[in-house]
Symmetry: C2
Subunit: 95 residues, 2 copies
Amino acid sequence: MKQQEVFRALADPTRRAILKRLQGGAMSAGELGAAFDITPASLSHHFAVLKQADLVRTERRGQYIVYSLNSTVVEDLARMVLDLFPSGGARGGKR
Amino acid sequence: MKQQEVFRALADPTRRAILKRLQGGAMSAGELGAAFDITPASLSHHFAVLKQADLVRTERRGQYIVYSLNSTVVEDLARMVLDLFPSGGARGGKR
DNA sequence: GCAATATTTAGAAATTTGTCTAAATATCTA
DNA sequence: TAGATATTTAGACAAATTTCTAAATATTGC
């Protein structure tokens, strides 16, 4: 897993909002972008960053390109975060 | 908790390395910086970002300023991350 | 108080990032 | 095939970020 790509991807609020929005289920780029006040081109850029970090998956469905969350990453992601703190190894403290 | 500050802080590899290094215990700025090939001024900048995100604490000890991990944030941090994914509420899937 | 050490602040330069417009590519439908 | 819709790519530009050097601040010990 590309740690740097992932953290970088999460650093932008628009991208986090995109991930949030995808919790509701897969969505086309246009549908997804309707919630944001930036151009499709800018959106596309954000999608690319998320994809590079392997946080989302894409599938062309006819005219549309459908985005979905890559949920398998969540575990790695959680590990990466916890790994930044002590006692994060085996069932961290405080649990 | 300032979500944006935290994610932004974690986006830089040097800052993540600093956090990692602090896992070994509290350390003065100089000691901490010895591991990196950047000037004290640049280091200081990174410290400021980490502090703003409330990820580290500082305490002056004589001439030195000692940095330590703010471990209490780990739970919030984990929550923020998991919150970006579905089924993140109660003991997510795949566990 | 003064010199030495530790760290931060200020200001500038280089790089990266987010956004835009314009153009390109892909698919659908008439 | 042509036109309409959906999305991405290319190139430019402004804003943010990382880094540097030089100077400022804080503390220790003589």
